[in-house]
């Protein structure tokens, strides 16, 4: 191993090798392209919220990243290893909560966990026991008799048990009530604090995403249309309505960039602008409106 110069704290996660590195991913269902030359990098310790409309291909993308889908083109590297056939050592570093429960319904929770434990070199029994108790999961009942929310919690426990370095969560909390979701988010925060786990989280519950996802990525038209820290997007994005000429003139005055434009009726358009860093600009001409995550989703996803 060669010595590397110390990276500053601010860009340490950028300097390090990406946890996941996807280049030029192509995938189609029949003639319908889903991923179109998609590039995406996940860096160590990042918590990334993956946003996209229904049918945008979020599940397909996550499955492709994990080597569970045959790609028509492109490459995926996880921890520096090229997929789709991953070594056991690399697999052991990944935790995955799929959108649809893939638990063996005839097993009990105890049997299921004992089974999975045999595949992993590392298993945190104390964490598993603690979570089973705290999340009130019956250990000796067939999984089929657990509620949807309990099955989802069990699936999360299974994914955390071997202390993965990459956690992939596809709609992990759709069956959980707000209290259950908060407990789950706290568990995620613990993972980040204690282990620096890289997390990708796909969910439509924006309030959850906003809390834990420091970065957000918007999947649209088969590509990652925008990826940035959410703070930065909220700080620098403004919404404005006017004619195309007015919007362009405004951008020139403020040194802003058009992030997204959408035609409205008449000759009006709605544009999202990215302001230059620094104190938020004001303009006498067109009112600039701050946006929240939901409004960003409406325009960017």
């Amino acid at each position: 191993m060669t010595a590397t110069p110390p990276a500053s704290v601010a860009n340490a996660h950028v300097a390090a090798r990406p946890t996941a590195n996807m280049r030029g991913l192509n995938l189609a269902y029949g003639k319908k392209p889903v991923l179109k030359g998609l590039d995406w990098q996940l860096h160590p310790g990042q918590v990334i919220g993956l946003l996209g409309r229904n049918g945008a291909g979020k599940t397909t993308l996550l499955e492709a990243m994990l080597g569970l889908r045959d790609l028509h083109g492109g490459t995926v590297e996880l921890f520096g290893e090229s997929g789709p056939q991953l070594s056991d050592a690399t697999r052991a570093r990944i935790g995955y909560v799929p959108q649809r429960s893939d638990l063996f319904e005839g097993f009990t929770a105890n049997e299921l966990l004992a089974y999975f434990r045999s595949f992993y070199p590392h298993w945190n029994t104390a964490k598993v026991d603690g979570l089973l108790s705290r999340w009130d999961i019956a250990r000796d009942q067939p999984i089929a008799r657990l509620s949807g929310g309990q099955q989802q919690r069990l699936s999360i426990i299974r994914a955390l048990a071997h202390e993965p370095d990459l956690l992939v969560l596809d709609e992990p909390v759709s069956s959980l009530d707000p209290a259950g979701r908060r407990e789950f988010l706290r568990e995620l925060v613990d993972q980040v604090l204690d282990r620096g786990t890289t997390v990708v989280l796909s969910t439509h519950i924006l309030s959850d995403l906003e809390r834990v996802a420091f970065n957000v990525a918007f999947l649209r038209d088969g590509q990652i249309a925008v990826q940035a820290p959410l703070d930065q997007l909220l700080d620098t994005t403004r919404q404005v309505t006017g004619t195309r000429e007015q919007v362009d003139a405004l951008c020139a005055r403020l040194h802003a960039q058009v992030l997204q434009r959408r035609a409205l009726s008449g000759n009006q358009e709605l544009a999202l602008l990215t302001l230059p860093p620094g104190p938020a600009a004001e303009d006498d001409g067109l009112p600039l409106q701050a946006v929240n995550l939901e409004e960003l989703f409406m325009e960017l996803a």
């Binding site: 918590v47 925060v189 980040v192 906003e210 809390r211 701050a290």
Partner: protein, 132 residues
């Protein structure tokens, strides 16, 4: 004062969470509810309590330190900076409301409300908050 009482966050806001945290600390210090030397929750503690990403909390704390509101003590804990021994006079505290009220005023003009209508609503909201 417990962490829950000092900090709360609104999701769905256009104000990022780190800025919500900064403004809450600023207001508590201005009102004298937090004063010099008082320890505030660690990044870990606050991130866990609020279920937010720890970087969001550390970003807020670093900016509060840069603005002279917090100081880093030896070790890792942050305390309210030494000069904030008393509540600020109400004349300067009320100025902290200005940005929020400017925004409300601009929206009120867009809605073509009279000042009487807008003030009546503000009065009503203030009264609601005073009920036990």
């Amino acid at each position: 004062m417990t962490t829950d009482l000092i900090f709360s966050i609104n999701t769905g806001s256009s104000e990022p969470i780190y800025r919500q945290l900064i403004e809450q600390v600023r207001r508590r210090i201005a009102a004298g509810q937090l004063s010099a030397g008082q320890e505030i929750p660690s990044v870990r503690e606050l991130a866990q309590t609020l279920a937010v990403h720890p970087m969001t909390v550390s970003k807020a704390y670093s900016l509060l330190e840069a603005q002279g509101l917090l100081e880093r003590r030896r070790g890792l804990s942050m305390v309210v900076a030494a000069q904030h021994t008393h509540a600020e006079p109400s004349a300067s505290r009320v100025e902290l409301l200005r940005p929020t009220l400017e925004k409300a005023a601009s929206e009120s003009r867009q809605l073509e409300l009279t000042s009487t209508q807008a003030l009546k609503l503000f009065q009503q909201i203030l009264n609601e908050g005073e009920k036990p």
